[in-house]
């Protein structure tokens, strides 16, 4: 494996890790509107992700930085091409981050309601935008010979990508619910479980529809079927196994299953892309490959050394922090926002 391929894999891992970890954070954030019934519960939701959400968000920041460093052309084409979606994404993430920190500092209904909206929108929009982004990436975008993307509204927002976006929202919410049933105690734990069962069928349907649309709108299955078909079969089995686990109240396993589905779905986009980083709708000649987009060998080698050194350390203290905060949270917690 050459280093540019390794870095493509690493960036894929970062995005997959981001969707897995922030997926449940986003789901919990959506819960502030759909699940929590009162102020104390909303605060409890924030406390459930409080110690760890910021570290989870850094997966995205690292993916962005790694893209810039390892694939300057990919970073440049993607970020300038998806101008307005990224604008909305950044503002949504800003609202969420600040909301978590400041919401509970003031006992004022209007203040808290406003920040609850920021939390909700900041948790709803990012997974939607990532769903749109990933699905439009494999569908193809107008990229010219100079590697510049001139995407119109319909290039980015269309039936296929919107279904992809909604799927990501649904998966995030389901993942957030299984996380909450694992992470909270009291009434909300039961409510999260029963709500997960309620949206189970709808999310499953979205998964099926999206898979079907992927066959229609992209070359993913035609070209990478040998990888994608087994993956989607596994995802299907995992998803079917989820329902009895939810019903029996196997919280740890349920969370594992929603996580697995999210991991497989996110990973499938990168498998569909490879060896391209961008697929051009203006003709295959304009596709941007991993090799064309990559930095030089020296830079990639250096970054490989640094990443190989740092990732075990980062994973180590991340896991340690989850271990420290392994206990369930309740409305009677003594430490929190």
């Amino acid at each position: 494996m050459v280093l540019s391929e390794l870095w493509f894999l690493l960036i894929a891992v970062l995005f997959v890790g981001f969707m897995f970890l922030e997926g449940f954070d986003f789901g919990v954030g959506m819960g502030s509107k759909f699940l929590a019934k009162n102020d104390a519960e909303r605060q409890m939701l924030n406390n459930a992700i409080g110690p760890t959400w910021a570290g989870n968000e850094v997966w995205l920041i690292t993916a962005g930085g790694a893209m810039f460093a390892a694939f300057p052309h990919w970073y440049a084409t993607l970020f300038s091409g998806y101008y307005l979606p990224f604008l909305v994404l950044v503002i949504a993430l800003m609202g969420r981050g600040v909301s978590l920190e400041v919401r509970s500092r003031i006992e004022n209904e209007a203040w808290r309601k406003s920040w609850d909206w920021a939390m909700f929108m900041g948790s709803l929009l990012p997974p939607f935008l990532f769903g749109v982004l990933f699905s439009s990436l494999i569908k193809g975008l107008p990229i010219d010979a100079e590697m510049n993307m001139f995407a119109g509204f319909l290039d980015i927002v269309n039936v296929y990508t919107v279904v992809g976006g909604i799927l990501f929202v649904a998966l995030s919410y389901l993942h957030g619910l299984t996380f909450l049933s694992l992470k909270t105690e009291g009434e909300i734990r039961q409510r999260a479980r029963s709500q997960a069962q309620k949206i189970y069928a709808l999310t499953g349907l979205l998964l099926v529809v999206f898979t079907a649309l992927t066959v229609v709108y992209t070359d993913a299955f035609a070209e990478k079927g040998m990888f994608l078909i087994p993956m989607y079969i596994v995802a299907g089995i995992v998803y079917i196994a989820l329902l009895p686990l939810l019903r029996k109240g196997k919280e740890g396993l349920s969370f594992t299953m929603t996580g697995l589905v999210f991991i497989i779905v996110t990973a499938s986009f990168f498998i569909a892309l490879f060896p391209n980083v961008m697929i051009s709708s203006l003709g295959e000649a304009h596709n941007m490959t991993v090799y064309e987009a990559a930095s030089g060998a020296y830079s990639l080698k250096l970054m490989t050394i640094v990443a190989a050194t740092m990732l075990p350390i980062i994973l180590g203290y991340t896991i340690w922090s989850y271990y420290v905060f392994r206990k369930r949270v309740s409305t009677k917690g003594t430490e929190g926002y």
Partner: protein, 467 residues
């Protein structure tokens, strides 16, 4: 307005805004880590109360600094894609390292600190704030490593139409990095120190919580003086660096059109006439520019006209003179505030040693608005540094005008500029509002009775903020 101008306005405004929060985070993290260390080793509750009180500011500030930082990473690609393609190989690496070495550390351990007090041994909890503090400085190091490349590109070779890294050690040893990084960190410590000094002074004037704010102020005065002196020394080192690496910036900062005499005099103030390329009504101080530039009282300094001619020969036709007035005046504002910082913190320490701090109401009152001084110094320092780099985005390699995204229209940049301006105004207002509130509330525990009365869902043991 064209996309280029709008993108420049956006970069300048969002970066300056981001850099309100960054230095305060770096400075406060250090001060709080010192306070908590005193608590753990001296075992006095007052130090814990102190740590908690200052931490509230840190957390609010850190949150806004972190979220505004997301856009900093994104906007290179969004507005400056040509630049990103050209430098990603060498400029992107430090940004990736920043995420790997600093962001994960800060984000994880601030969470550990906030939620972990009852779950962790005291020393582990203390270690987490030190890791946050180290993380903020590591972050500064890597972003300064990237920024230094724009001023003094080293460790690269031009290949495949871009700057590719071929010597990482050279990137790490970049002379600009080793003058600018300590300068920025000292400036940040001073920002934190003057914040603590100013807020403490506000309480000391009112004789409230003296037991907490007097020691807070003493710690901050020491950090403030050390930082002030550090700023001065590293600032001088920057000038010497500029002389050989970016002489045009130095000449612009001096409003020096023609070559100076030998020894060179330093211009305190002048009326800069860009059209006629002269500086009139100058107040000159002999020998000082030679000292600034070379560390000795001799040596002449080249003027902008000479440098412009040289650069035309080297780089082809074009205007290589940066906006002179901005560079000239921002340099003076920066250096001036730096000097005042040293005097104010030295005077404060003097008062404190003679036990006269509480009686010096004028000094204490003055130190409240003096909170703003480091912010002014920081901002104008960056303005001088980055405006003085123009017309280059990467000195000698790529011009700012050639760096923008070709596929992003002015309308899009304007939309983004307006959106972020609105959001940032809100964030700024939230920060000021919360800070004022925290200051008015004070470090004493809140009384809970009225809370229960107003909100049926609030029960006494639900905590707000960091307890």
């Amino acid at each position: 307005m064209d996309a280029l101008l709008l993108a420049r306005i956006q970069f300048a405004s969002t970066t300056l805004f981001h850099f309100i929060f960054v230095p305060l985070s770096i400075g406060l993290a250090l001060l709080i880590a010192i306070m908590q260390t005193l608590y753990v080793y001296k075992k006095k509750e007052i130090y814990w109360k102190m740590t908690k009180f200052w931490m509230t500011f840190f957390l609010i500030n850190f949150a806004i600094g972190a979220v505004t930082g997301i856009f900093q990473e994104f906007q290179f690609g969004m507005n400056w894609s040509t630049y990103s393609r050209f430098v990603g190989d060498i400029f992107g690496a430090p940004l990736a390292f920043e995420a790997l070495l600093a962001f994960f550390l800060e984000a994880t351990f601030i969470g550990v600190w906030m939620f972990g007090r009852e779950k962790l041994p005291k020393k582990v909890h203390l270690a987490s704030i030190w890791l946050v503090s180290i993380g903020t400085m590591l972050s500064a190091f890597w972003i300064m490593a990237a920024n230094s490349f724009m001023h003094n590109p080293v460790g690269f070779v031009l290949e495949n139409g871009r700057a590719e890294m071929n010597d990482f050690l050279a990137v790490l040893m970049n002379e600009k990095l080793w003058v600018a990084f300590p300068h920025t960190v000292f400036g940040s410590w001073a920002t934190g120190a003057f914040f603590v000094i100013g807020v403490s002074a506000w309480y000391l004037v009112r004789k409230k919580n003296v037991d907490l704010f007097k020691p807070s102020m003493n710690i901050a005065l020491i950090v403030g003086l050390v930082s002030g002196l550090g700023i001065a020394f590293t600032g001088h080192a920057q000038a010497e660096y500029l002389m050989h690496a970016q002489p045009m910036k130095m000449a612009a900062a001096e409003g020096l059109w023609e070559d100076s005499g030998d020894p060179a005099a330093w211009t305190l103030v002048a009326n800069i006439d860009v059209e006629n390329k002269t500086s009139t009504s100058r107040i000159d101080i002999p020998y000082v520019l030679s000292y600034l530039a070379y560390g000795k009282f001799e040596g002449k300094v080249e003027g902008m006209n000479t440098l412009q001619e040289k650069y035309v020969l080297k780089y082809g036709d074009g205007n290589y003179v940066p906006p002179v007035k901005t560079t000239f005046w921002s340099f003076r504002i920066m250096a001036g505030t730096g000097g005042v910082l040293v005097l104010l913190s030295a005077f404060g320490l003097f008062l404190s040693f003679r036990n006269k701090l509480m009686g010096s109401k004028k000094y204490l009152k003055f130190m409240v608005p003096a909170i703003l001084l480091p912010f002014i110094g920081n901002s104008f320092g960056w303005i001088m540094s980055e405006i003085g780099r123009q017309p280059w985005v990467v000195n000698g390699l790529m011009k700012t005008a050639d760096a923008v995204s070709p596929n992003v229209s002015a309308t899009k940049v304007l939309t983004s500029l307006i959106s972020f301006s609105v959001v940032y105004v809100i964030l700024g207002a939230v920060m000021v509002y919360l800070f004022v509130r925290v200051i008015k509330q004070g470090p004493d525990e809140k009384v809970k009775e009225d809370i229960q009365a107003t909100d049926p869902f609030e029960i006494g043991d639900v905590q707000h903020g960091v307890k």
